[in-house]
């Protein structure tokens, strides 16, 4: 199994480090040629406008969009979730736009509102997952066929899955808890 991590901008090294700890072969993706023979792709946190523009620069946007439509499993965290969403209100950032969710950017406010909280994510078991939200987005709406994976105490949707696409508003790559990455790898192998 080989998982690519989009390395245009953002916390890609943290995802690569987590995958290494899980003994998974990884490769950073900056150009379309890095997308060949991948079993899955992770789009990390970072600045979604910056990542989007860098993807447009070297045709990555179209290529990743096509791969997603053909069933490539993709995990998007924070900015990655925004880029997976079909709709991003009040933004002219071009997303990959393959997942039936509406993602609101900076939904909790500015950095002073960034927070940590224990999350209940039923598909990962009973133990709470450390949720790290940094200038985080939220999922405002989900289309049919999208499974909600996690909500905050006030029912705000913060993680979802649509077939082999997984989106999280928080940063599993900034924690030592590898269950979210394992969950994604199970989707890649078809075990989930």
């Amino acid at each position: 199994m080989k998982i690519g991590v989009l390395a245009s901008q953002g916390a890609f090294a943290e995802h690569i480090a987590t995958l290494h700890r899980l003994e998974v072969d990884t490769t950073p993706v900056r150009l379309t040629r890095h997308l060949t023979s991948l079993d899955g792709l992770i789009i990390p946190g970072g600045e979604s406008t910056s990542i989007s523009k860098l993807m447009l620069g070297y045709d990555l946007m179209d290529e990743i969009r096509n791969l997603a439509k053909n069933g490539l499993p993709i995990l998007g965290t924070c900015a990655g979730m925004i880029l997976l969403a079909k709709k991003i209100p009040d933004s002219d950032t071009e997303p990959i736009g393959v997942m039936g969710i509406t993602a609101r950017r900076n939904a909790f406010g500015r950095q002073k509102d960034s927070f940590e909280t224990d999350l209940s994510i039923p598909v990962l078991g009973e133990k709470p997952f450390p949720g790290i939200f940094i200038r985080a987005p939220l999922i405002e709406q989900v289309n049919d066929g999208v499974e909600i994976l996690a909500r905050l105490a006030d029912y705000t949707i913060v993680a979802a899955r649509q077939e082999k696409l997984v989106a999280a508003a928080f940063h599993p790559e900034l924690t030592d808890d590898m269950r979210f990455h394992r969950y994604f790898l199970d989707i890649v192998t078809g075990d989930r």
Partner: protein, 294 residues
């Protein structure tokens, strides 16, 4: 229970900026140009460093109404500078809601002995350094991100190279040292023992480290990345050049593709004039910015 202002969310934002370019801007219009070019954040200032250098006198925190305008104009994080040791400017910036504070040698220091005790704040801080000891002192005071200082406003990369090389080679020295040598090394670099031990064990800084002070071209940015920086600050280099839009975009591309000489060559074409550069040796010692702070 939601906890704000934790070390994890402070250092985490810097991790999200990695591989990106943070651009100095002085108004909302420039902020939009920076965002459009792909900047991962902007640094709001009243004047860019080369103009501060030319103007002389006392350089202070920017007018907060300008910073508010900039915060409204863009969706990327907005940073702003306070003077070294001026914790009340920092309080005012925190109250304004900026995403990161740069306790910066580019402004005139308010305190020649003490830096801001940054653990008191919920907003994260970035601080400059010339070597590893200085970086670790700032981190111990609560800096959640570090940048090498270079020499701001010169368009000359030589000091930035000196500082990033100093940091990276000292990290290697700590990694290779024996346990019984660490205390002497900590004493020599004036760094807290606990952080010296952390680096000895992990081989890297505990926070993100960007390069700053003199980046004027895409090749300059890629040079700093190849030397080990996590990302780039560009001060005067963009808006003092003849074509800011094109140059900003090219520096963003070169920072992402820093290991790809073909792309660096391609994006370096037709950018117009770079900012006018300054020879460090021609600058009177008392006008050097990097020696401010310790």
């Amino acid at each position: 229970m939601e906890k704000t202002g934790t070390w994890k969310v402070k250092t985490g934002l810097a991790q999200m900026l990695k591989g990106g370019v943070i651009m100095d801007i002085i108004n909302a219009e420039q902020a939009k140009i920076a965002q459009e070019a792909g900047a991962c954040a902007v640094m709001a200032l009243e004047r860019v460093p080369s103009d501060i250098r030319a103007a002389g006198g006392v350089a202070r925190m920017a007018d907060l109404s300008i910073i508010e305008d900039i915060m409204k104009a863009v969706s990327i994080p907005v940073m702003a500078k306070c003077r070294i040791g001026h914790f009340v400017e920092a309080q005012a910036l925190e109250a304004t809601g900026v995403d990161y504070i740069d306790e910066s040698e580019v402004l005139t220091p308010a305190d020649e002995s003490n830096h801001v005790w940054k653990h008191d704040f919920k907003v994260p801080f970035v601080c400059g350094c010339r070597n590893l000891g200085e970086a670790l002192r700032r981190i111990d005071e609560g800096a959640a991100m570090i940048r090498t200082k270079g020499e701001a406003g010169t368009g000359n990369i030589v000091e930035a190279v000196r500082h990033i090389r100093a940091v990276m080679s000292s990290i290697q020295k700590l990694v290779n040292a024996r346990q019984d040598e660490l205390m002497a090394l900590a004493k020599e670099m004036g760094a807290p023992m606990e952080l010296v031990e952390t680096i000895h064990q992990t081989g890297k800084l505990p926070v993100v480290n960007f390069a700053a002070g003199g980046v004027a071209t895409p090749a300059d940015a890629a040079l700093m990345m190849q030397l080990g920086a996590d990302g780039i600050f560009v001060g005067s280099g963009i808006f003092k050049s003849s074509n800011p839009e094109a140059r900003a975009k090219a520096i963003v591309q070169a920072t992402t593709h820093f290991q790809d000489p073909k792309i660096i060559a391609e994006v370096s074409k037709n950018l117009g004039e770079a900012m006018p550069g300054l020879d460090i040796k021609q600058i009177p010692t008392e006008e050097l910015l990097a020696t401010r702070g310790w």
